[in-house]
Subunit: 461 residues, 2 copies
């Protein structure tokens, strides 16, 4: 081996890790850079976001969700070791200890550069019965396989979904599509706590419209099991909900035990802290990205944990560029998310009212009703747009949209405007695409910007 050849070790074979490995490989050939990647499961580079659609039957099978298989990575000169878990990280001696989960063999592997992409794990509150058969998270492909097997094996057709965020709402629809009667238990009063409650209420109505029972203010206390040990019901302080299968959609937490053990810096939500080049703070040769890191929220100036595949891919790209001797940065997020339940599109970007309050920002709000197309054009569907703007400055702080076809991706306009720190008044002049099949002559986002501009003026100095 030539003295100049370096070894990159990647921990985690999904979006961030394998994007980093692939980008590094593009920039440096095997003669310059050896790449070893460890992955606990049998899968690499898959779309966890697609699992609800696989469960619901919109996606034919598991393999559809896999962007690149282990063998495809290996064909690109990446030494990918699946079913291998990294147990210990020793940054002082630049090595990791890994175990082959099939053979049980363990050993240390040294590195010159390290990428930590260990992802996140579903929150599983320590409740009685939470680990019973029939209770499922939906974080990875194995979870998806287990859930589908469980649905097929279920004695009845009653499902309980715990949590009403994106995953909970998408899983509720998936389970309805599979013929289950679905009850969603939600800690808050409205589903989609990623929206303000007034906008979440619109989602609530749509969920009930598709036959889902929603229970707000529901704190789960216990998972009950039958004689066979399998889940039979979910109990809250106020009631008991029979269940042949339970899906947990109560969020995820960064998978950073390994990093914590190595003394790497973690933030308030347990995610790794990095610099703009995605290097772990204080460690020039260690990068981290994806669902195991915290990112800068460009609107509030705070660090947040935002586990989304689209960020993980960007991180991987930035990390791979850095590892490979190139240059790229990840400036941060503005908090954009879109989702869909039946034909209802749900989108948000920037801050909710409570986010703004939490960071000391004073704001005004404006909520408008408009349509996706010119009112006279066939298929024009209603949409509600809520906009937050900072008092005095009028700077855009956030947008939430709930509507039908054509509503969700309109949030991108606001995402770019947030990135550019535009005021809502500047937004009123935006030259957005107009034609009757695409928009009313005033795009709904512009209508909201006009109303928000008036609200800023009215609130005064």
């Amino acid at each position: 081996m030539a003295g100049t050849k370096e070894r990159l070790v990647v921990i985690g074979g999904d979006a961030a890790g394998m994007s980093a490995a692939s980008q590094a490989r593009r920039l440096k050939g095997p003669d310059e850079l050896e790449i070893v990647a460890f992955e606990r499961s049998r899968f690499t580079s898959y779309s966890a976001c697609g699992i609800p659609y696989w469960v619901g039957g919109d996606v034919a099978g598991r393999d559809e969700l896999i962007a690149r298989t282990p063998d495809e990575h290996r064909a690109r000169a990446i030494d990918l070791r699946t079913r291998t878990e990294v147990l210990e990280l020793d940054t002082a001696r630049q090595r990791v200890r890994a175990r082959d989960l099939e053979s049980g063999d363990e050993g240390w592997t040294g590195y010159d550069k390290l990428v930590i992409a260990t992802g996140a794990r579903p929150v599983r509150p320590p409740l009685p019965g939470i680990d019973a058969p029939g209770v499922h998270g939906v974080q990875n492909l194995a979870d998806g396989e287990a859930l589908i097997a469980s649905l097929d094996a279920a004695r009845g057709r009653r499902a309980v979904v715990v949590g009403a965020g994106y995953i909970g709402v998408e899983m509720a629809e998936a389970l309805v599509n599979r013929g289950f009667g679905v009850t969603v238990l939600n800690r808050g009063e409205q589903p989609m706590s990623t929206l303000d409650p007034d906008m979440g209420a619109l989602v609530h109505g749509a969920m009930n419209g598709m036959g889902v029972t929603t229970v707000g203010g529901a704190e789960v206390t216990k998972v009950l099991t039958g004689e066979d040990g399998r889940v039979s019901a979910v109990a809250t302080e106020d009631g008991t909900y029979p269940a042949d299968v339970v899906v947990l959609g109560i969020g995820v937490t960064p998978e950073t035990e390994l990093a914590r053990g190595a003394g790497l810096p973690l933030g308030a939500s347990g995610g790794l802290l990095t610099d703009l080049a995605m290097r772990v703070r204080g460690h020039e040769n260690v990068w981290a990205g994806g669902d195991c890191v915290e990112v800068l929220d460009l609107v509030s100036g705070t660090l947040r944990h935002v586990p989304l595949g689209t960020h993980a891919n960007k991180h991987g790209q930035v990390i791979g560029s850095g590892v490979g001797g190139g240059y790229a940065t990840f400036p941060g997020v503005v908090g954009t998310a879109v989702s869909k339940v039946c034909d209802l599109e749900i989108a948000r970007t920037g801050l909710r009212e409570k986010d703004a309050r939490a960071v000391g920002l004073r704001y005004v709000t404006a909520t408008i009703e408009s349509t996706s197309r010119a009112g006279y054009y066939p298929g024009a569907a209603p949409m509600t747009v809520k906009m937050l703007a900072e008092r005095r400055t009028g700077r855009l702080l956030g947008v939430q949209i709930v509507g039908r076809e054509g509503a969700g991706k309109r949030v991108d306009v606001a995402a770019v405007a947030l990135t550019a720190r535009m005021t809502v008044e500047q937004m009123t002049a935006l030259d957005l695409g107009y034609a009757p099949p695409f928009s009313p002559v005033w795009d709904p986002v512009l209508v909201a910007a006009r109303k928000a501009t008036a609200a800023v003026a009215k609130a005064g100095y």
Copy 2:
């Protein structure tokens, strides 16, 4: 009449004029401001952009396209005089001479403030036969009514559309929907010269796919008529195309004869020149907006004539604020336009290659293929995105998109980025909405931005 009461005269009762009148009325009541509006036709505040859909049958009838009728305006204390044409403008004495087209009565009306919103008129080249019955423009509701009557009266089912811009393409589809065999004669080689030819070629294919015959490089020389004087064919230098009806879609020109007669400043394309508050240059009490003005192109720094309803409405809002004692400006456009032909969505913003060259900008281009949704999600449709970036600086210069459902409005992301003068590298980090039903994990616009970033780097200094 109190000494402080002013009179506003508005010339033109469509989007810009009546938006201005309405906004001025919101800010000042009839005791402070008298508003007199002159409109040549019987209609006010209608959507000319909707005419193709009315002709094609997607919109039930004419009245669907009318946002506010003359009587609705009158109920808001606007003295609206329809079927009344302004013949002369005398800015020195602050008065206009108007004729009631029904009675023939003429007279002068004085003003304190004036709004010129005379719109645009379809280009009608001075060719033999161009004024024959059966040859139609589609600029206003009367044109639409005349065309529909002409289609109903046509002896055969052959239509020729002259021009393959937005109007031409939309009218071709409308005529197909009405059961006509359609030939589109286009001066350029590709339709949609608002796109670069490589992107226009994608539209060409789609038009042929819906059974429209397209003839490129076709310079119309003559309109032929039958024994009854009605159109029978259109001749070019290379051929003759039988036609029972002809639609002219070769663009519009600012309707500024009145302004020219009064010595008001006009630009290179014949549109009125205004300041940022939409006041006619050199005239503190005269505003102009809509299809009769030139606007600043924020990307190229040049003045352009961009006749679009969405701009006209914004102009009206700004003018009405100024007239009413408020404050608003129209900073300019970035050149966004969207259109649709069958299920093909066509969008552009910013500069085409030839626009960039014309203003001395050096650029690189990147073209990518992607999909509207995650590849595995049902309904994922292909789309092509072309991006132009300035050499050296990497500043975004323009984006063109051709694709199916979900393609068109993606151009808005680029429209905002152009307004904010972002570089394509900055765009690669944009936090756009991602979920499988809405986008691949890398939105097509981001994929294009990555490729354009690489192209900028490769082109070097």
